[in-house]
């Protein structure tokens, strides 16, 4: 058992009587998978884990499941574990009044990056039978039926983590673990976006068409997104108004992703969940990262940092010119 998991469990044990429940993670069906976990009873606490496999952004459940969670009659808070990126989503949700700050107890977990299962499968000789996965310092140790492989952590973490600028929670009631040095400076160029922009205009179109052509319109990206708050009432599914037809052609796939991206303009906190959950491997977050870059450049705004700020497309400044 690693230190971080232990520290988390100890902390939760100490405060659990004051909380209605805690959103955390537990091991999934195999050592490469993790499952979000609702700690509802004292005995659940020992199932909690917190490590480089704690992929899921749990704030997603706050906005979308607040109603599903029994409202605490006695005003007890809901505990939620957040990584750096998750905490920004939480701030954005507070900004948009989907979550009330005084309803949540925020357990911050500085994060050195979460693993990308697809990258690991490409790195180990027998990806079908992984027995254990552990991060040891800057190294990842993967044990399979055929033995133990070790490689640099950076070779196995998600794309979003490689360009992480906020590894430490920007909002928290308690911080478990030591703060981590960001990989990129706040104003650094996004290297993935730059890689796409290095293509010619025609190639960029082909690149996206090729990516989006795979889209099966399952909407997993939407459902995983903590800020896609329309959920069951998304215009992707309603036929009134009818923004999207049932055709499964390129036009509609493209349109879907443009809707998703533009609805997150100025709101996306780059948690990367959309991209992680995509069953067909489309780099969905990469679309939003560009919009974030535009908004940062144009309006000097980053979402999910200041709970008091107004998302930039919901406000204006009469003075701004030259845009």
């Amino acid at each position: 058992m690693d230190d971080k998991t232990n520290a988390l469990r100890e902390h939760v044990k100490g405060i659990f009587s004051n909380l209605e429940l805690v959103l955390g993670w537990e091991p999934g069906y195999d050592p490469l998978h993790t499952r979000p976990f609702y700690v509802r009873t004292e005995s659940d606490i020992d199932r909690l884990t917190a490590n480089c496999l704690s992929f899921q952004n749990l704030t997603r459940y706050l906005a979308k499941s607040m109603n599903a969670v029994d409202p605490a009659a006695d005003g007890r808070k809901i505990g939620v574990c957040v990584k750096g990126c998750d905490s920004r989503s939480l701030v954005a949700l507070i900004q948009e009044k989907f979550v009330s700050r005084d309803r949540v107890y925020v357990i911050g977990l500085p994060c050195r990056g979460t693993l990308d299962a697809r990258r690991i499968r490409a790195l180990v000789p027998d990806p079908a039978r992984i027995r254990s996965v552990n991060a040891e310092g800057d190294e990842l140790v993967v044990e399979t039926d055929r033995g133990i492989s070790r490689f640099a952590l950076d070779r196995a973490i998600a794309r979003k983590c490689l360009q992480c600028r906020y590894p430490n929670p920007v909002i928290h009631d308690v911080l478990i673990g030591d703060p981590v040095t960001p990989r990129l400076k706040i104003d650094a160029e996004n290297p993935s976006v730059a890689a796409v922009e290095a293509l010619s205009l025609e190639d960029r179109l082909l690149f996206w068409e090729n990516q989006l052509d795979r889209c099966i319109r399952c909407f997993a990206c939407r459902n995983a997104c903590p800020l896609c708050v329309c959920q069951n009432h998304c215009i992707m599914e309603t036929r009134m108004p009818k923004w999207i037809t049932q055709y499964r052609n390129m036009n509609e796939k493209f349109m879907f992703h443009m809707i998703h991206a533009l609805h997150l303009a100025g709101r996306c906190t780059e948690c990367g969940e959309c991209e992680r959950v995509c069953p067909v491997g489309i780099p969905v977050a990469l679309i939003k990262e560009k919009i974030n870059a535009i908004i940062y450049e144009m309006l000097d705004y980053e979402s999910g940092i200041d709970p008091e700020a107004v998302p930039p497309l919901l406000t204006f400044s009469p003075k701004e010119t030259g845009i």
């Binding site: 999934g28 069906y29 195999d30 998978h33 993790t34 499952r35 979000p36 976990f37 609702y38 899921q56 997603r60 979308k64 599903a68 697809r118 499968r121 490409a122 990806p127 079908a128 039978r129 992984i130 090729n210 990516q211 795979r214 099966i216 319109r217 399952c218 909407f219 997993a220 939407r222 459902n223 995983a224 959920q231 069951n232 599914e237 309603t238 036929r239 037809t245 049932q246 055709y247 499964r248 969940e273 992680r276 959950v277 995509c278 069953p279 067909v280 491997g281 489309i282 780099p283």
Partner: protein
């Protein structure tokens, strides 16, 4: 002729080239290197079948496209009385000879579920039927299960050739392809030369060894009544699906999920009626016109998914579980929900309580 041929690794492309002249040949192929995305796509010279890694998406769309035009329609005004219309209908079929090469036993077996629903009984689905009749399956004897696979738990196995016309058996140096049905044998016999006795023996050995493998620990059939008992136990369902984000990926990747929606898309005076995949994990799936929804939360919806596969379906179709054990729903679930565990706990905890 023995109804078997041997194809060396380096001859596989040539075989597929030949086959693709007569058939629309679908093979599992690498769709995107960066994300390692493998899915079924139409073969074209130069494309390589991915036979050593599992595909993320099942071959379901080959017989049951995610969007299928049923017919096209045009309104024609009566020039004398423009208020009156006649409607011009054109049926739409897309069902030339098709071959699916390199699907796994679970993939091919998935269509058994479709057959029950779309072909048996009073009403047949002509769109599915025509495609089904025109499609041959050359199924790979499966060598590489992973932690999510459980075909043996649902009455199948890695060498189960139910529904296949040909078996593709990997041996040293290549594949032995064996015709299993008349159509399969006929095709095999005209497509290459017979294996040497050693190769034939190696293939038989491979089949036997594979058939002996047990993929998946538990037997997940026979849970029909447990589900019924468990139906109203919402605490159980809450516990199981709390992490679920109702994304429906499980239904999208599933080889046996056959739910669909029918819609008209029209513009101006013409349009088409189409059938597209739907998912029981969606709120809109059961939303009624007035606004009532009998499955308002993910608990009811997930219960339906499990219930349908392991209880309602077997009760209706002679105990046949409508799950082929491919494990795709487990593998692709963003929150790692494991349907094996859910089904098992139906009984376990029920037993505990009893």
């Amino acid at each position: 002729m023995s109804g078997k041929i041997f194809v060396a690794h380096d001859a596989l492309s040539g075989l597929l080239d030949d086959l693709s002249k007569k058939f629309k040949v679908w093979i599992p192929q690498m769709m995107d290197q960066a994300s390692g995305h493998i899915a079924f796509g139409v073969y074209a010279p130069g494309k390589k079948p991915e036979l050593t890694r599992r595909s993320r998406l099942s071959p379901k769309k080959i017989l049951f496209p995610s969007m299928d035009t049923l017919f096209k329609f045009t309104y024609v005004k009566d020039p004398k009385d423009p208020v009156r219309y006649t409607i011009d209908l054109k049926e739409s079929f897309d069902n030339g000879p098709t071959l699916v090469f390199g699907a796994r036993p679970c993939d091919t077996r998935g269509f058994q579920t479709f057959d029950q629903v779309f072909l048996k009984g009073q009403y047949k689905d002509v769109y599915y039927e025509r495609r089904r009749q025109n499609t041959l399956f050359a199924t790979l004897v499966c060598q590489d299960s992973d932690t999510a696979c459980f075909c043996s738990s649902v009455g199948s196995g890695p060498a189960d050739m139910t529904g296949s016309d040909m078996a593709v058996i990997p041996i040293e140096g290549g594949y032995v392809i064996e015709g299993l049905t008349d159509a399969g044998r006929k095709l095999v016999e005209t497509s290459g030369s017979a294996p040497s006795p050693e190769q034939a023996a190696a293939a038989e050995q491979m089949k036997r060894n594979t058939a002996a493998l047990k993929i998946g620990e538990d037997d997940l059939t026979g849970y029909a009544d447990d589900l019924t008992r468990r139906f109203t136990d919402m605490d159980f369902w809450r516990e199981q699906v709390s992490p679920c984000i109702t994304c429906g990926v499980c239904t999208w990747v599933c080889p046996t999920c056959y739910c669909f929606s029918i819609t008209d898309e029209a513009s101006g005076m013409s349009g088409e009626r189409m059938r597209s995949w739907d998912s029981c994990m969606f709120y809109l799936y059961t939303l009624e016109a007035r606004g009532h929804n009998p499955r308002p939360t993910k608990m009811e919806r997930y219960r339906n998914r499990v219930g349908h596969k392991f209880s309602y379906f077997p009760k209706k179709y002679d105990g046949m579980v409508s799950c082929c054990g491919c494990g795709r729903c487990i593998r692709t679930c963003p929150v790692s929900i494991d349907i094996r565990k859910v089904v098992k706990e139906l009984k376990e905890t029920a037993d505990d309580r009893a």
